[in-house]
């Protein structure tokens, strides 16, 4: 700890990202910072709220050389970042050296790793002499859960453990993307990327990313459950709707839309429906198709009502597709249906299955 065991006086800490590095997409920086804060909130009672204007406890910024605090950076390598212990004014503020190459992987300096370390300082941790600790002063890239026992003991000495007795997750056994029997829980588009949910994880696919990136759902969206049944994007509102059991969440990027979660029956589904298997929004028609067991429903987004004449049979309306769906996505006029380890590409215009592939072919397997 720092001298006098500096810490925040209460567990609600605000943060604000003042500017962004050009090395990464804005959403990547948002995600890295959110993931880093979630690592510390997982093991303490701390709650982090993001501000978009005004003064936050932890002001996060990128700058190079002399950047306004008389504590200049030194160009590429060497000093990567620094942060101030909890306190008024500059206390808690966290600065990253813009002269570094910030990355999401191990190719240069991983922003998530450095941010988790620096935010440890912003919460009151000083450096650790334990080379395996995150709070060790020298940078090293380690995949997986970044905190060592030393880090956890240190932060809990200041703030105590997480009251939900949230055990620190052991290194999760992530699903193997090239398992030939792999099936999906849900698939959705998100601002031009494809998000595939499986167990407690999601893969993020982007045309410019050679490899799908796998992350814990809760690392990015802590308010979501560990298991997603279905998901779809409604671009008109820049929202992604997530279904799990009888509840649904609306996400705007990485933030939960106020008023959610809601019950799925708000959409007009009968109470006997207890789970949505798959969901997909058809941009051309403005309809969202909701699949449950062997039937599906059509929801008119603009009117906010369920279309009449539903539910209808999946097998009758989508011939050649089998009678159940795990996940569905719509791209360029094609509906991609995923059921167990098989993926059906269905042409919405010619109304027939035109291609059958393995589910994980979408993951470059």
């Amino acid at each position: 700890h720092f001298p006098r065991h500096l810490k925040w006086p209460n567990n609600n800490v605000t943060f604000r990202i003042e500017n962004y590095t050009p090395d990464l997409q804005k959403s990547d920086v948002d995600r890295a910072i959110r993931k880093a804060l979630n690592i510390w909130s997982d093991v303490t009672p701390l709650i982090f709220k993001k501000l978009h204007v005004g003064n936050a406890d932890i002001m996060i910024s990128f700058g190079s050389k002399e950047h306004g605090d008389f504590n200049p950076f030194d160009g590429p390598d060497g000093l990567l970042a620094h942060a101030y212990p909890p306190g008024q004014g500059i206390g808690g503020d966290t600065h990253f050296d813009e002269d570094e190459q910030w990355t999401k992987d191990s190719s240069a300096y991983n922003l998530f790793i450095v941010a988790t370390h620096e935010l440890g300082h912003a919460l009151g941790l000083s450096h650790s002499t334990d080379p395996g600790a995150l709070m060790y002063p020298v940078y090293s890239y380690t995949p997986g859960f970044p905190l060592s026992e030393d880090d956890i003991k240190g932060i809990q000495a200041l703030y105590g453990p997480n009251p939900n007795s949230k055990k620190v997750k052991p290194k999760p056994d992530a699903p193997n993307k090239c398992d030939p029997m792999l099936s999906f829980d849900a698939v959705t588009e998100l601002r031009g990327e494809t998000i595939i949910f499986k167990d407690r994880f999601y893969w993020r696919l982007h045309s410019q990313m050679p490899e799908p990136e796998q992350t814990l759902i809760k690392s990015t969206w802590p308010s979501l459950p560990n298991k997603v049944d279905a998901a779809y994007e409604y671009p008109e509102k820049d929202q992604v709707i997530i279904f799990s059991g009888i509840r649904m969440w609306a996400l705007n990027g990485y933030n939960l839309v106020d008023g959610y979660p809601k019950y799925i029956h708000k959409l007009g589904l009968p109470k006997k429906v207890r789970e949505i298997d798959a969901a997909v929004h058809i941009r051309d028609t403005g309809k969202t198709l909701l699949f449950t067991d062997e039937k599906y429903w059509s929801y008119d987004e603009a009117a906010g009502t369920m279309d009449s004449g539903y539910p209808r049979s999946i097998e009758v309306d989508f011939p050649g597709m089998g009678d159940e769906v795990d996940a569905a996505a719509y791209r360029y006029g094609f509906l991609n249906f995923f059921h167990e380890h098989i993926q059906y590409e269905y042409s919405y215009t010619s109304r027939k299955v035109i291609r059958i592939m393995r589910t994980n072919s979408i993951l470059n397997c």
């Binding site: 720092f2 001298p3 504590n71 950076f73 390598d77 060497g78 000093l79 990567l80 970042a81 620094h82 942060a83 101030y84 212990p85 050296d97 300096y109 450095v114 370390h117 620096e118 300082h121 000083s126 450096h127 002499t129 080379p131 002063p137 020298v138 940078y139």
Partner: protein, 79 residues
């Protein structure tokens, strides 16, 4: 005697490092005092990183000083 240029660079790098991370006093001091302070801080850093504590600027110590790291000092108050 003036240090050979290679040593000179290493010495300057070490002085900068120790000033930033181990609170080595800046500015001019008596020759005796500055050498003593320098050696003490080298020993402090070697102890932190679990290196052999010699008080001398040996290769291992210099190597570690060149590694990418956090800008927060390893000792004392940071403000």
């Amino acid at each position: 005697l003036p240090l050979p240029s290679g040593d000179q660079d290493s010495w300057l790098l070490a002085e900068k490092y120790l000033r930033r991370f181990y609170d080595l006093p800046a500015g001019l001091q008596g020759r005796q005092r500055s050498a003593g302070a320098f050696e003490d801080k080298i020993s402090e850093m070697q102890s932190f990183f679990k290196l052999k504590v010699t008080g001398n600027l040996d290769d291992n110590t210099l190597e570690l000083m060149k590694q990418a790291r956090c800008g927060v000092p390893d000792v004392g108050e940071y403000n």
